[in-house]
């Protein structure tokens, strides 16, 4: 019982700053609500899919921006996809970077786009690390016999 409550408190302590610092937002909470007995790994599946998607998009964008003549329309459509995905799972920070990224694309500012791309990469790496820690904690709780509470 003690280990479980300790783990749960650890989880809560870990999650709270994630929300506070804007790594995830309300949508992430909604996602967690969707997880139940019929789909116990729902959140993890969605998040993994998101990370795959994100990596692919970032690579495509990097390639597009390295060209001599940059096809900003294509970059814009990639950014749009990324924005949609990130808002679907509640990755607030990434979504905000995407918004700025879009502006640079419309202004056809290569420097700005490259900077945003770097930022996206940075945020993505951070979020991936955070969420992986989260999942590890959750797995430990489940293993200890508890259930993952929906936060906030």
């Amino acid at each position: 019982m003690d280990v479980l409550s300790q783990l749960q408190r650890q989880l809560a302590d870990f999650l709270a700053p994630l929300y506070r610092e804007g790594f995830v937002d309300d949508q992430f909470t909604q996602l967690q609500k969707l997880q139940d007995e019929s789909s116990p790994d729902f959140v993890m599946e969605v998040v993994s899919l998101f990370f795959e998607d994100c990596e692919k998009l970032v690579n495509n964008m990097a390639k597009a921006l390295e060209q001599q003549i940059v096809d900003f329309k294509q970059v814009d459509s990639h950014v749009h996809q990324l924005k949609g995905s990130s808002s679907s799972i509640g990755a607030a920070r990434i979504k905000n970077v995407c918004i700025a990224f879009k502006t640079f694309c419309e202004a056809q500012n290569r420097e700005g786009c490259l900077r945003c791309l770097q930022q996206v990469n940075h945020e993505y790496t951070q979020l991936k690390a955070n969420l992986q820690t989260l999942f590890t904690l959750e797995r430990q709780i489940v293993a200890a016999g508890g259930s993952v509470p929906a936060m906030q």
Partner: protein
């Protein structure tokens, strides 16, 4: 000697005298013969000469005279008898004709003379007409000047322009040296030089208004000549050599707005006047003519009218500005009042919650405390706490309710309820208190009272409880009877409520409740005060009773909200009192009852949509998965597609809803093709777009292209649940933006 018939001349022939006579006779004859010739010549020339035959006569007379003189030439020397005979004949004829002529001339000469006088008369007349025409011409010119001046003056509504124009035009028309206007000062005791023609900025000369010359000018409406030395005329330094020009002054009435009554002409006595002074050029020896004076008078009148118009206009502009300012101020005040009301409402809303929460805590805990083991003293204390806090809670509720009632912001919670049950519950609530006080309570419900009614159950209960509670409070003994029945039209109208006009109809009825007690009664004079809030009757007996005095006021408000009326009848102190109220309640429809419990259930429960076949179309993999998870969580049977073509391939009649998360215009294309695929309306799945775009244009476009709903992303579980239930019930959803 032969006898000759010669006649000797009478006198001896003296040589010289004879010669002169001979010559004179000759010339006379000549003249006498030439005169008729001249006459004939000139008469022939003139067209009109009425007396031709007179001329003939006169001609004959002269010719004969000439002949006589001619023949007498022969008589100077020896002449024959023939000559003498001829001479005699001619003399006789001459005598006849000349007598005739003389007689005729007697008639003719007066006529001829009168022609002359007539001619003189006509000449005089012509001269007079000439003079008059000259006058008329000058008058007409004056009139023209006046019209022009008037036009100039009246073409503007600005006071200064009017006065300036007047002076300028007058100066021009009459060729004046100087023209000045003296206006009365505010005090009315002085005249101040306000406008001049030549001087640019008249320095403020003032003269007292009581000068004799000014009084003289003001006393009549004619233009008067005044002395050039009077103070009003000495405006500029005298520049001429000999004589200053003549000066004329005229009054200009200043009509004030207040001089005009609606159906009256302005009072003459209260007028103020300005003085207009006109100076002819010096050294010009010009004089003021009558027509010029008349012109000045007319102009002065016109100026007065123009000024009064200008004054009226100024007043109305001022009034309008004032009104606008007042409007602004009123608007401001209204906004402030609204802000204050809003602030109060906010305050009430907060306090409503903040005040009630601790109260409930206190009441709940005190009643819990009552249940535990207590010493008698403790019990007494706890009971007092409970009683006081109950009172306080009631008071808070009453105050808050009353504020909301007064605002008009309170609305009845209409619902169907059981009327009989309500009365029974009231009875149950008061039975304990009644039995403690040993009062007997009876309830009489009329047999035609409907079982169910539509109205505000809670507030009706509150009203009945309040009334019955009052009956209990103010009775020490006896019985209390509660009667309730349906009011018929005769009993609806009460003399005490002259402005209460109930109109019964098919779908509502009027409930009449009478609560009669045998208690203290009320002084009939104090009955009106009972319904005013916070007013307490001052009788000795009632001072012991508790109560804030709000109860009846609140009841009255509730009853009024229910379109009814409440009043008290009492015969006096100690004779008990009856409280009667009538409220309007609606008759419930049968179908309503079956529907009402259905709606709330639809929103409950996770498995509200078991097996609902849904299709999700989304290009974005992550987003697609999230939406699918959401719908699966709600129990739907979800299929996903990632392109429009795939969607059209997979979609079938079994799918009830299609969630589309695509950017427009792809969404539009998809919708159109779906409409084409499913021609029958009920076979087509409901199309709902999920979008992050919140504006009206998007919504309108979606509606236009044929979608059944638009939802704003991100969608929460609860939102999706309510969306699905709305969608399935109404088959359209356009409120979720």
């Amino acid at each position: 000697m032969e006898s000759c018939n010669c006649i000797e001349p009478q006198w001896p022939a003296e040589e010289l005298l004879m010669k002169y006579q001979y010559i004179s006779d000759f010339f006379i004859a000549l003249a006498y013969f030439s005169i008729p010739l001249e006459l004939i010549y000139f008469v022939k020339k003139s067209a009109v000469f009425p007396y031709r035959w007179v001329l003939v006569q006169f001609g004959a007379f002269i010719v004969l005279c000439g002949a006589t003189h001619l023949i007498s030439l022969w008589t100077f020397s020896m002449h024959s008898r023939t000559v003498a005979v001829v001479m005699t004949i001619s003399k006789v004829l001459t005598a006849v004709v000349s007598c005739a002529t003389a007689l005729m001339l007697v008639h003719i000469i007066p006529d001829l003379l009168s022609v002359k006088t007539r001619e003189l008369f006509l000449k005089n007349k012509a001269a007079e007409l000439d003079r008059e025409m000259g006058l008329i011409r000058t008058q007409e010119e004056t009139g023209r000047h006046v019209r022009m001046l008037t036009h100039e003056i009246r073409s503007t509504l600005d006071r200064h322009t009017i006065l300036k124009t007047t002076l300028v035009e007058l100066g021009r028309t009459l060729v004046l040296e100087e023209c000045a206007l003296w206006m009365p000062t505010r005090t009315g005791l002085e005249l101040q030089l306000s406008y001049t023609l030549r001087q640019q900025n008249p320095v403020g000369y003032t003269v007292p208004i009581q000068l004799p010359v000014i009084n003289q000018v003001f006393s009549s409406n004619r233009a008067m000549k005044i002395s050039p030395n009077s103070p009003v005329a000495r405006i500029r330094p005298f520049a001429g050599k000999y004589m200053p020009g003549e000066v004329v002054a005229v009054r200009v009435p200043l009509l004030h707005l207040s001089n005009f009554q609606i159906n009256d002409w302005p009072e003459l006595s209260t007028r103020r006047y300005a003085l207009m002074v006109l100076m002819l050029p010096s050294d010009s020896a010009r004089q003021w003519h009558v027509h010029e004076l008349e012109l000045v008078e007319v102009v002065a009148d016109q100026v007065a009218v123009a000024l009064s118009h200008a004054a009226i206009l100024e007043e109305s502009m001022r009034a309008r500005d004032l009104l606008m300012d007042q409007n602004v101020a009123l608007d401001h005040a209204r906004r402030e009042a609204e802000t204050a009301i809003r602030a109060r409402n906010d305050f009430l809303a907060v306090m409503n919650h903040e005040m009630r929460t601790p109260m409930h805590a206190i009441i709940a805990l005190s009643s819990l405390l009552q249940e535990t083991e207590l010493t008698p003293e403790q019990r007494l204390m706890v009971e007092t706490i409970l009683k006081s806090s109950n009172l306080l809670a009631t008071l808070i509720n009453d105050v808050l309710d009353l504020s909301r009632l007064e605002d008009g912001s309170l609305q009845l919670d209409l619902g169907t309820f059981n009327l009989h049950a309500l009365f029974r519950e009231v009875l149950n609530l008061i039975k304990p208190i009644a039995s403690v006080k040993k009062l007997h309570v009876t309830l009489n419900l009329a047999p035609d009272l409907p079982e169910c009614a539509v109205g505000d159950e809670k507030r009706l209960m509150q009203t009945i409880l309040n009334v019955v509670g009052n009956a209990l409070k103010f009775s020490k003994e006896g019985s209390i009877s509660i009667t309730a029945f349906v009011a018929k039209s005769e009993s609806l109208r009460d003399s005490r409520a002259p402005d209460f006009f109930p109109v019964p109809s098919d779908d509502h009825f009027y409930l009449r409740v009478q609560v009669k007690d045998a208690g203290q009664g009320v002084n009939p004079q104090e009955i009106p005060k009972l319904f005013t809030k916070f007013a307490q009757t001052q009788t000795l007996a009632t001072r012991n009773s508790s109560g804030s005095g709000l109860g009846l006021a609140i009841c009255k408000r509730f009853v009024n909200l229910m379109e009814g009326h409440i009043w008290i009848e009492s015969e006096g102190l100690g004779k008990g009192c009856t409280v009667i109220f009538i409220v309007k309640l609606c008759i419930p429809e049968r179908s309503n009852e079956s529907k009402s419990p259905f709606l709330p259930k639809a929103n409950h429960g996770q498995a509200g949509f078991p097996g609902l076949k849904v299709l999700v179309l989304d290009y974005n993999g992550v987003s697609r998965m999230v939406t699918k998870g959401l719908l699966v969580h709600l129990g739907c049977d979800v299929a996903t597609v990632s392109s429009i073509d795939e969607c059209l391939h997979v979609v079938s009649q079994e799918h009830k809803v299609l969630f589309m998360d695509v950017c427009m215009p792809d969404g539009f294309e998809a919708t159109v093709r779906l409409h084409e695929k499913f021609t029958k309306h009920h076979e087509r799945p409901l199309i709902v777009a999920l979008t992050g775009n919140t504006d009206k244009v998007t919504k309108e476009n979606c509606m236009r292209v044929g979608m059944d709903g638009v939802i704003l992303k991100p969608v929460s579980v609860d939102k999706m649940r309510s969306v699905l239930s709305d969608l399935l019930e109404h088959r359209v959803l356009f409120g979720a933006m």
